[in-house]
Every structure is written in structure tokens, then in C-alpha cells.
């Protein structure tokens, strides 16, 4: 079986620490070239890994490097042009989240990829955590009954505090945390619920003095199936925390990456004790946080080979951006805002 030739666009932390090691571990993949504006910082790495193609301009790499697929690991505001150009060159694309900064851009990319019959995958890996996968399965299985309320939260330290000092670009955009964590949260919520958010009302705050950006955002929403919910995302929290609570007519589900609990009508102290014992036993096992990244990379390569679909598609990413547009609109106007959906054929 011939190897898939892969290029990397943008060699920041996510490329170097996550995707590159994953791709190197896959036997059927050859990382052929890297496009990085600051090519000097890649030279040594490329030499040790026997990667011959180094470019400062991704368009040049697309033209000259004979690639099957490309990983877009640039700052969010550069995603759209890099993805569009790759599709125009007939290259399959894996794009780090979000897939651009507006649903209009995302819609264009999805249409282009469909027309060219190219794989377009997006890196919403948080939904791949085992407990969220289980939560989604349980909701789909109808074992919770009708979903009435949802609370979803994703908070972390944010750029500088917990990420890396070169992440200035996080502060370029007024909506700061919305595209960073809010996009993950919207994707996770719609994935777990198998439902679409249709209307939002949002508020935001700015605690980063001197910067005119939202670093904490809260939104209430309704969904197509009539569920009500809240979304909370924020920076400056010392410990990462992500969780989703689903409350339904036949039970409640509480899920986060390390724990999951279901409470039905008969929930009692013994069930609680059993749950704690089960969780303790599970938590003693080593957690592999990087597994989700490997799974998404593997699935993308499989999709490029034509075997499967990517775990998160461009269409999923478009749906997230539609909601983010509505949250943005609500933040600006202070009013409830309906989500505008794009129709795909």
C-alpha cells in the first residue's frame, strides 16, 4: 500500500507536539513537507526527521510538494485562506478548529470540498473523550427519555497562563474565548445531544485590562428538539474543567473527561457509593489524553484512503460556526438571536 504524502501548514505547538508525533507513528503516512513563516525554527527538526520540503509560503508547498493531504495548524484567523487554497490544489484537508471565523467562510469551504470530492476534517477532538462518546451513545439510545435541560461548561487558563507565550494571536480577535473554547463547547453540546442549537442569548465579560476582548462568555440556548441549555466558556481559570450535564424525563447524566454518572428515579445512597467506588477504580488507571488526537488523525488518513468518514467533518464545523455567529450577534445586540442555517445539497 502506498504511503499518504502529508504536509503541515503552521508549525506551532499543536503541530509539533500533537499532530507531528501522531503522523510519524502511522506506518502508511509520510510527512513530506512543512510550510512555516518562520522557517528557521523548523530547519533542525526537519533535518532530524528527514523532511525535505520546507516552505515559507503554503501556496508554494501545495504547488510543488505533490501532497495527498495537509494539516492546517495555523492561528484561527488564517484557517480559511489556507484551507481554500489547499482544496483548490486538490488536496484533502485536516483543519484545526475552528474552520474559519464565520459560517459564510465555512459554507464556502464545505461546498468546495464537496464539489472536488475531497475530505475536509476538523479538529474538534474534545468530543472524542471516552465519556462524551458514551454520553452521546446514551442520549441516542433513548435511555434518558426526553432531554429537557443541558448545562455545558469549558474553562481553562487560556493563552499565556497555560498555553505558550507565542500565542499573541489569541488576543487579536475581539471574541477571544468564543473561537478558542466556545467552538469546542458548541460542538460537544450538539454532538452529545444529537441536536442543533437554534437560538441563543449571550453575555460576555472582559477581565483582561487594556484588551477589548471577551474572555468569559455565557449563553442560553434552545435546540431544534426543544431542549433548553446554557453554555459557559472562559479563560483565566487555573485548572482546566469541562463538563456536560443532561437532565431528561427519565434521568440525569453528568459527564466530564474523567468521570460519568447517570441518575435515574431510583438513585439512592448505595448507587452513589457504587459510583464513587467505580470512579476510583477507573481513575487509578493511566489516562491517555493524547489518544483523541491520534484517533482523529488516524480517521482522517483512513478517510483520505477512502475507507471511512472523518470523525468530525467540515459540515459539523459549519454547524458550530453558525451558532458562533449567532452568539456573536447576541453579544453585540444584547438580544436573543436565531441561528441562520446554510442549506447543503
Amino acid at each position: 500500500m502506498s504511503k499518504i504524502n502529508v504536509g503541515i501548514v503552521g508549525f506551532g505547538a499543536i503541530a509539533k507536539k500533537v499532530h507531528m508525533p501522531n503522523l510519524m507513528s502511522l506506518k502508511n503516512v509520510k510527512v513530506k513537507s512543512i510550510a512555516e513563516l518562520n522557517a528557521k525554527k523548523v530547519t533542525r527538526f526537519a533535518k532530524t526527521q528527514n523532511i525535505s520540503g520546507l516552505y515559507e509560503d503554503y501556496d508554494e508547498m501545495y504547488k510543488k510538494s505533490d501532497l495527498d493531504a495537509v494539516f492546517i495548524c495555523l492561528p484561527s484567523f488564517l484557517h480559511f485562506h489556507a484551507v481554500r487554497s489547499a482544496i483548490q490544489h486538490g488536496i484533502h484537508v485536516f483543519c484545526e478548529k475552528p474552520m474559519g471565523l464565520s459560517s459564510e467562510d465555512a459554507f464556502e469551504l464545505v461546498k468546495m470540498a464537496q464539489e472536488e470530492e475531497l475530505v475536509l476534517a476538523v479538529g474538534y477532538n474534545r468530543r472524542l473523550a471516552e465519556n462524551y462518546q458514551r454520553a452521546s451513545k446514551i442520549v441516542k439510545s433513548l435511555k434518558l427519555g426526553r432531554i429537557l435541560q443541558v448545562n455545558a461548561i469549558l474553562v481553562m487558563s487560556g493563552p499565556y497562563v497555560g498555553w505558550i507565550p507565542s500565542s499573541d494571536w489569541f488576543f487579536n480577535d475581539r471574541y477571544g474565548v468564543l473561537y478558542d473554547l466556545g467552538s469546542h463547547l458548541v460542538d460537544l453540546t450538539m454532538y452529545v445531544l444529537s441536536d442543533r442549537i437554534t437560538e441563543v442569548a449571550s453575555i460576555g465579560s472582559n477581565t483582561l485590562q487594556g484588551l477589548n476582548i471577551y474572555d468569559n462568555i455565557a449563553a442560553v440556548f434552545t435546540t431544534e428538539k426543544g431542549t433548553l441549555g446554557t453554555l459557559n466558556s472562559g479563560w483565566k481559570i487555573p485548572q482546566d474543567y469541562s463538563a456536560i450535564e443532561v437532565h431528561a424525563t427519565a434521568g440525569s447524566l453528568f459527564a466530564n473527561p474523567i468521570d460519568m454518572e447517570i441518575r435515574h428515579g431510583s438513585f439512592n445512597s448505595l448507587e452513589r457509593a457504587a459510583h464513587h467506588l467505580r470512579s476510583a477504580r477507573k481513575n487509578l488507571r493511566v489516562q491517555h489524553n493524547s489518544e483523541a488526537y491520534l484517533r482523529e488523525d488516524k480517521a482522517f488518513i483512513d478517510a483520505v484512503r477512502g475507507n471511512t468518514n472523518p470523525l468530525v467533518s467540515g459540515v459539523d464545523a459549519l454547524r458550530v460556526l453558525e451558532v458562533l455567529d449567532a452568539i456573536k450577534g447576541s453579544l453585540e445586540t444584547g438580544k436573543r438571536t436565531k441561528v441562520t442555517f446554510h442549506t447543503l445539497h
Binding site: 458514551r134 451513545k137 446514551i138 439510545s141 433513548l142 435511555k143 434518558l144 427519555g145 426526553r146 424525563t249 427519565a250 434521568g251 460519568m260 454518572e261 447517570i262 435515574h264 428515579g265 431510583s266 448505595l270 448507587e271 457509593a273 457504587a274 459510583h275 467506588l277 467505580r278
Partner: protein
């Protein structure tokens, strides 16, 4: 000629698919009709008794889905020239049927059906029956229940903390028009027998699309298994249901009692799916162990043994 007891089983692959539910139920009813087990004279009156034991939606596994009653009634109205179809349920200790009809969507479902009316059996005129039963000598039952030409019971496939299962026979106890039904709980098996002796359903339909396991009939967990069961004999239908749920029918007191007293038969034919292919373990209610005859004799051991058992079960129990 005595009709042979027959029970039909259908499996709905996607429990959320209304279209599939309608198709499978129609198919079961057609097959019953072909066997001459459903026939109604023109101008007949029909009473449908669904299990609405609590104000909890069908998706919780506690009550019958009004959509199933709708499919059944649509089929009946297509096939037979009926005068009226009454959907009747009686109040219970913690149930106001009038509210349940509204909240659970029964009113909405049938508001465009001129022949169909919803009836709180507790408010119906009563008819006194001389019964010579195991608990009641005389039994006052709703007039509509007694005098309708045809009685159809729609039960729910559920575990029950007291009677192990609640499918058809136990559903009929719900028609007894007394609100404070809890006072009969110490004699439930006998009372179930008597209510069924007063009148047995002519057709039994069990909604096992989203069934319930554990602490049924109200606080259990939904078990979406997509089963529809139809029979002409309440005892045979319950026998099939208990086998599907992997509950030993010979240990269900009210079922044994009903068979022994000739209310139905354990000898029946099954069509459609085979029981072996659709049977699945229903988690029993947690306090069942207390009823174990050995543990019951040692009161001091009841609580610790039950606690250990429950903890073990909860630890083993995969939540999804």
C-alpha cells in the same frame, strides 16, 4: 369452540421510528385478524384501557405511548364500522387521570377523532357485579368497562416492585375505579385476579418499545427494546412477556393464580419473532432480595445482605 391462545411478537429495529412502530403493529393486528382472533360487529363499542399509572411520559418507560393507541385505533376504524371507542383509565393514589390525559398528550392525539372519547373511569357510572372472588365478593366496576362490546388492554412491558411484572393482568387493576388503590396492595395478587375475573380483555397489546427495568412501575430505568406484543389471552400474553423479560413466570403469583383459576392459559402459540430471539434480562427491582424466603426469616441480616447485594449489582452494572 374454545379459541386457542395466540401471542404475536414484533421487533421494531429503531424504537424512535414512529413509521416502523405503526407498520409493525398493523402487521401484528392483521395476522391476528387472519386467525379470526379479532372481529367486531358493526356499531360495536370499544373500550381501550391503556396503562397510565403516573404522570410520566412514555419515553420514561412508565406509561403507554399514545401513539401506539392511535395506531391501534386507526387500524380498528379502518377495519370495522365502530360506534365509539373510549379510552379509559381510572384515578390512582398518586394519579389524576384528567391531568394525565392532558399532560401526556392523549388529548392532543385524539382531538380530531369524533368517535374517540377519553374517560376517567373513576367518574363513570358504577355497575355492581356479583363475583365470588378471592378478595371481593361483590365488585363495583365502571359501566363502560363492563358493558363495552369489546375490551382492549394496552399494557406496558415493565418490572414491578410488588408483582414482579406489570403487563396486562396488572394493567386491568388500574381500571378499578377507586382512587386510593394503595390500600389493596397487601392483597394485590388476589385483587388483580378478581378484577380480571370481572372482565378479561378481548385483545391484549403490550407496549415494549421503551420498556422499564429496575424500580418499576414508576421509578425504573427506560429500556428501549422496541417490542410489540399482541395476544388474545391476558394470561398467555403475560406469560410471554415474563419470558421475554427473563422473569420466571412460575414465580409470578398473580399470573400463576390467574392460570390456575382458568382466566387464561400457559399453553399458547407464538407467531412473529421467537421469544428466544428477543428475550433480554430486565434488572429486577433492588428490594427483591428482601422477599427471598431464607433472608426473610433472619430479619437482622436483611439490611446488610441487601446492601451488599445492591452494591455488588451497582458495581457490576454498566450504566450504558
Amino acid at each position: 369452540m374454545v379459541k386457542r391462545s395466540v401471542v404475536g411478537i414484533a421487533k421494531v429495529e429503531h424504537p424512535g421510528s414512529k413509521l416502523e412502530i405503526e407498520k409493525k403493529l398493523s402487521n401484528l393486528l392483521e395476522q391476528m385478524e387472519k386467525r379470526n382472533l379479532i372481529s367486531m360487529k358493526p356499531g360495536s363499542t370499544v373500550l381501550v384501557k391503556p396503562n397510565i399509572c403516573f404522570v410520566k411520559g412514555y419515553e420514561t418507560g412508565a406509561t403507554v405511548d399514545p401513539f401506539i393507541a392511535k395506531c391501534l385505533i386507526d387500524w380498528l376504524l379502518r377495519k370495522f364500522s365502530l360506534k365509539t371507542v373510549t379510552i379509559g383509565e381510572a384515578d390512582a393514589t398518586i394519579l389524576n387521570v384528567d391531568i394525565a390525559f392532558k399532560v401526556l398528550g392523549w388529548e392532543d392525539t385524539f382531538k380530531r377523532y369524533p368517535q374517540v372519547r377519553l374517560l376517567n373511569l373513576t367518574k363513570d357510572e358504577l355497575v355492581s357485579l356479583s363475583l365470588d372472588g378471592l378478595y371481593f365478593q361483590n365488585l363495583k366496576m365502571p359501566k363502560t368497562y363492563v358493558e363495552s362490546d369489546y375490551l382492549i388492554s394496552i399494557g406496558k412491558l415493565k418490572t414491578h416492585v410488588q408483582t414482579d411484572i406489570t403487563c396486562i393482568l396488572k394493567n386491568q387493576f388500574g381500571a378499578y375505579p377507586v382512587k386510593h388503590k394503595a390500600k389493596y396492595h397487601p392483597y394485590l395478587d388476589e385483587v388483580i385476579h378478581d378484577v380480571n375475573k370481572a372482565r378479561l380483555p378481548d385483545l391484549c397489546v403490550v407496549d415494549g418499545i421503551i420498556a422499564m427495568e429496575g424500580e418499576g412501575p414508576v421509578d425504573g430505568r427506560p429500556k428501549p427494546i422496541g417490542l410489540l406484543i399482541v395476544g388474545n389471552d391476558a394470561v398467555a400474553t403475560d406469560h410471554v412477556c415474563s419470558r421475554i423479560m427473563r422473569v420466571n413466570p412460575h414465580k409470578i403469583k398473580h399470573l400463576k393464580l390467574a392460570a390456575k383459576r382458568g382466566l387464561g392459559s400457559f399453553d399458547y402459540d407464538v407467531f412473529g419473532e421467537k421469544i428466544e430471539d428477543v428475550r433480554t434480562t430486565f434488572v429486577p427491582f433492588s428490594a427483591k432480595l428482601i422477599r427471598n424466603k431464607y433472608i426473610r426469616r433472619i430479619p437482622l441480616l436483611r439490611k446488610p445482605i441487601t446492601a451488599c447485594y445492591l452494591l455488588k449489582r451497582a458495581l457490576e452494572n454498566e450504566q450504558d
